[in-house]
């Protein structure tokens, strides 16, 4: 019997996975394009981004969905308020960081650390390099990707079996790798002219990556679908136990309720 393919990603970590590849790709692009100090800042911001994503992930994870559905809140408000609040928080955080960075406060803080602690975080940022900073990518792009995926995932949850849900993790890995690569390329093309162009390209790349991910999903699903003749469940289904030949004859639903 040929075993069906299985993917065993931790249900807790799996939704985080999509964020890692694009962040790494973008980071590497920055690292390669600029001197190491900028790369270090990129890595720090990546940490911040991942941390924010983990918080978001917790809020939109299935256990929280169950909890919120259970608590005595009206359904819509109970479910969507945290999502909206998280989205707003992320945007606010992004905006705040952007302001800090553009105003030169970040440079000042970094220079202070450099002078007093002897640790260089790349305080000598020029405006051109600041434009190359991956802020829109680290905060805007993951948020876009996340919320873009969220509606999709929510829909999937309604109709996907637990086995298939582990597939979406795989699907999103493919999705995010492709999106990350395209996004990185787009950033490389548009730098350093405009962050707006860069972000715009990123959005387009996300959209472009979606059909590719669906194709990948189709390929993966073919092997893992439980309805596939290859799946153990399907092979076992319909067999009548040798020692119970009559079981099938009496398989009608039985009710003894008095």
């Amino acid at each position: 019997m040929k075993p069906a393919l299985t993917f065993t990603l931790s249900p807790t970590l799996a939704p985080l996975v999509p964020f890692v590849p694009p962040l790494l790709v973008v980071s590497c692009m920055n690292w390669a394009q600029h001197e190491e100090k900028d790369g270090l800042i990129s890595v720090l911001l990546i940490g911040l981004g991942i941390s924010a994503c983990m918080r978001v992930h917790h809020i939109v994870s299935y256990p929280t969905y169950e909890l919120l559905s259970t608590l005595p809140y009206p359904r819509r408000r109970g479910l969507w308020l945290p999502f909206a609040a998280t989205g707003a928080s992320l945007c606010a955080l992004g905006a705040l960081l952007h302001v800090i960075e553009s105003s030169g406060v970040a440079g000042g803080v970094l220079r202070y650390i450099d002078a007093h602690l002897g640790v260089s975080f790349g305080a000598d940022l020029t405006p051109r390099r600041r434009a190359a900073m991956p802020l829109p990518w680290l905060l805007g792009y993951p948020a876009l990707a996340f919320y873009g995926s969220l509606a999709w995932l929510t829909r999937m949850r309604q109709r996907a079996s637990p086995a298939r849900r582990s597939l979406w993790s795989m699907e999103l890995v493919v999705y995010s790798v492709v999106a990350g690569a395209l996004g990185g390329a787009a950033q490389a093309l548009t730098l350093p002219e405009s962050e707006v162009w860069s972000a715009g390209f990123g959005g387009l790349c996300l959209l472009a990556a979606l059909p590719l991910a669906r194709v990948a999903r189709g390929l993966l699903t073919e092997e893992t679908d439980e309805t596939s003749p290859l799946s153990p469940r399907a092979q076992g289904a319909g067999r009548v136990p040798a020692a119970a030949p009559a079981a099938a004859a009496s398989s009608e639903e039985v009710r003894w309720s008095s």
């Binding site: 909890l67 259970t70 809140y73 109709r159 298939r164 136990p241």
Partner: protein, 318 residues
Amino acid sequence: MNAVETRSLTKLYEGRAVVDGVDWTLPRGSACAFLGKNGAGKSTTLRMLMGFTRPSHGSASVLGADPWEHTVETKRRIGYVAEQPILPGWLRVDALLSAWSKLYPAWDAAFERRLREVFEIPGKKRVSELSKGQHRRVMLLCSLAQGGDLLILDEPGSGLDVAARRELLSILAEWLAGEDKSLLFSTHIVTDVERIASRVAILKDGRMVADTELDELHDNVKSVRMPLDFYRATRERWVAAGLLEESLQAHSALITVRHFATHGRFVLQTLDEGRVVLSQGDSRDVWLGANGDEAHVLHLPLEDAFLALTGSGPKEDV
């Protein structure tokens, strides 16, 4: 009004029915165990009853309303313990219980205090620092103290040690003694069922194969060992009695049927005017025919009855 009522409740995943046309009723004031092998559809059914996911077909009514449309007031009357830890990890337990008590106007503070002692709840710890068993106890405390009318528990004994499970069962029994309290719980621990449940519902491959009072289940699902010749002569009647398992040996047959009380015993009466000659307590009855043939009716423990009903394998010997 029933506590739970489903009509042709069906859930499809990728076109495959994981819950398949379940018609089922949980009368108010009942304690029902939801049994089934892994993947039988228990958790999916509970999720539909809780309104986490919508049925593909059919409908469900919990406390008289569609779970998807439950109002805040109805939600307050339903306590739920999930299979997985779902409480927010960043809250301290004291703060969590304080918040919960404000969400539920009927919160029973005295019961909460008592459960805190019984379950040894560490109030100062953050939820994320709790062990799985402790987390489950906190969830149970929340659902029990909220003052609801219906408890839906998904594997409540999972993660609890034997002593804690016993405590939980006695607490649940106490809770059930209240007016019109209903309990629905899924479990794999059959001994828990016999301690607390009055009814049993068994799912197999998404279909409900049994929905009965526990006593009726014991009366009906029986194994019978009889002479092979007699079995061959009466096999059709055993099939009509709901033959579940069949094991043929050199001179005897060992079978399990699902309708012994209503069908099977009448087949045994044809054993040359067979009659019960010996009843050995709870374990078996011996039926004796005129020509010396013997048939032994074996009273199955719930676990064996469950395995027979869910087709988990033939019984080789007893």
